[in-house]
Amino acid sequence: MLSSSLIRELTEIVGPGGVIHDSKQLAAYECDAYVAQTGRPAAVVLPADTDQVAQVVRCLAQAGVPFLPRGAGTGLSGGATPMHHEVVISLARMDKLLHVDFANQRATVQPGFVNLELTRQVAQQGFYYAPDPSSQSVCTIGGNVGENAGGSHCLKYGVTTNHVVAAKVVLPDGELVELGDPYGDPLGLDVLGLLVGSEGTLGIATEITVRILKRPQAVKTVMAWFERVEDASDTVSGIIADGIIPAACEMMDQLAMQAVDKSMYHVGYPPDIEAVLLIEVDGLAAGVDDLAERVVEVCRRHRVRTVRVAKDEAERSLWWSSRKMAFPAIGRISPDYMVQDGVIPRTRLTEVLKTIARYSQEAGLRVANVFHAGDGNLHPLICYDARIPGQTEQAAELGRRILELCVDVGGSITGEHGVGVEKIREMEYLFTDTELHLQARLREAFNPRDLCNPGKLIPRPARCVEVKQAAAALASHTSHTV
């Protein structure tokens, strides 16, 4: 519980409707979309603007109370889960589009502004916002910045960090800084680059300026059904080897198809295919038809069973919904799921999928695969039932094995979902102590008292502390000798 004087102070800043502190109203904030670990916050504060965020942070920092920012709570690694009784600073009410500069292709939004809403607001003028996480109809741009969110189209257009050009940021002590530059390249160290993907551990972005892009003249979407995963994987490599850079290249396996076909986004996948590919090409109208034809050709070379181009926007939209709704549609076939986010070299797809299938059998837990095949970003969805004692732990263990497999073949533990609390142990598998220590020191420069989203992203293992102590001892020794 927070002290009543602190609650009073917070209420003075954001008004009575902006503070939730009754313990009975806090349960709903125990987790984001990663539900395997939960923690009750000390309170929830809903500020309305940058100034209120700064005041709230200052007030909490002075009181020594830990806090964390939260957008729509759609994160998949527990980045917004209050594991240490933090005060949740919900940015959901900061949902305004502040400014659009069409001539220079920039838009400035508050952090609670919903990703897809930006595209909706600028579509009339022929623009869109490129990063498109599957949760784009709900997730906020502030959350995207925190997690450096990707999406289906980042294969060609890049992830959030490639689209954020400037931000106002409230640092963990409540100071306000402006990072980046709306129109130029930042001078000095790329502090904005450091902030994007820092999962709310370095500060809270309260105004974000992003690039908006001109809609491509033409888009063609191809769907291809394969009897063997190998053929689908080889097709992906074949397309890239052919010199085509698809806007998106997505794959789903049979279990994922079954789940999403049970939802309202029913495509009607045959039950005896192993993989479906969704490939999109875009660009100038003159070239897109040829590109699509070449994609179809590559599919044919790799024993595709059926391949065709979406006949109209309605069909294209259905195909994309089928892909984008696949994660939550797993709820149709399993009471709980954990989604992993490993990255592997594209050429290792077939072998990694086979190993995942073996791990899945060994653990006795079903795994559905939905992923960005073009950039080797896997999303194995581990199905489990939290009501069966021990199964949550089994699922987590299976997830860990899969991530270690990704690292072993030369990949990484996260492509776009972040580390949060979920993958914090795997950070030690991926990085050396020295590398982790460097990250910890960088964080310390922003967040010296570790009040801002503590325990996320960068592990605090005992040996890290030892390294720190050793470094401190060395430093004092050095200063004595000088």
Binding site: A27, A28, G39, S137, P328, A329, G331, R332, A386, E393
Partner: protein, 457 residues
Amino acid sequence: MNRALSQSARKTPAPADAPETGAFLYPEPPDTDRYSACVHCGFCLEVCPTYQETSDENLSPRGRVYLIKQAAQGLLELDEGLENPVFSCLDCRACESVCPSGVEVGALIEKARGQFHLKAEEEGGASPLTRLFLRGVFAHPRRLRALGKMLRLYQKSGLRAVARSLRLLRVLPPHIREMEAVLPQLSDPPALLKLPERIPAAGTGAQPAAPVTGALFTGCVMDLFFSDINQATARVLTRNGITVVVPKTQVCCGALHVHAGDREQARALARQNIDAFLASGADYVVVNAAGCGAALKEYPELFSGQPDLYAQAQAFARRVRDISEVLVEVGFQPPRGRIERTVTYHDACHLCHAQGIRSQPRQLLTSIPGLKLVPLPDSERCCGSAGIYNLTHPDMANRLLERKLDDIPEAADAVVMGNPGCMLQIRLGVQRRQAGVDVLHTVQLLDESYRKEVIEC
């Protein structure tokens, strides 16, 4: 406080197939399978009107389902922490339309409300509003009619004028006072009384391949305030070769009771309707009120533990159709009478989200010669009426009403819909703003077009 991985087994000790009860100690708790389907993705947040207005997770579909799940697991109690989230829900089901997992949020909310209702009964007090309206009036056709007569007398006798001039209405809460101000004139007697028990199909136009009979469900609010729409519905049906029967022993559908958690009363009403309509032998039960239609289609839900009644409820529910649905299904005659108007269409929640009916009313409207249909932005967002929500939660209902009015395109001279609750609510808003827009039921325009062709011929 953290329930980390190593402790999560403690959180849920029950075996997977055992129903959890936790804080839900009364009959018909929210179903385990229903809340387990929620994977907490949050895709529902952006379409939830109460979340849009508050940005509070407690007032979002995901938050509500999470709290229900927590209570079922015994981690929360049946108290105000759950009560406000559960009762502030509009039960509009917009979340169900977007949920990739197919979580039936409406059914969960209704059953959770049932728990509160039974608890309140045990403790000796439902809210006065619930007692008066749901049990005291809506459950009794005669009292409902008496209320109608009183209102009619009140409006006609000049009593309304007297009450207004003496400012007697000031004793009422402001939102009820406002509602009083826009109550339509109750000039017609209820269609349930006035319409004959059987109206043969009209001889004009092509007939359906086989004779079709539709039993008209007249509803409470619809028949009290808009009995002319019931009559129009009967005319439109017979015009399309459908014989209309009006089972005289039908009663309130019970939707308001289900929404308030009074499942026992709803069951009693459902049994009477099932008997009345199945006895009529009609092919279809035709409804022109979205809220009633959804409730009638969901009758089996009320009899889940009783196989015989469940089967009967299913047989009944299979026949239920919205008026727009049945007309498209049997193949309606395109009307020929011109109506030179520009209108917009509001999707009543219980038509679009609860019954998935979106294209049929639009198909009817666009078939009318001369009529121009312009889109209403975000047409599937609740107008705030939501049964008696505008009486129980006037502030939220008002905010949603204002947004709905803001959305009505300037070009439209009427806003059309398929639910009497929405009609009363939007009419209130239109009158308050003195906007020159008519509030109509889809059937009214269709009927007008059919009637014009008779005159024009």
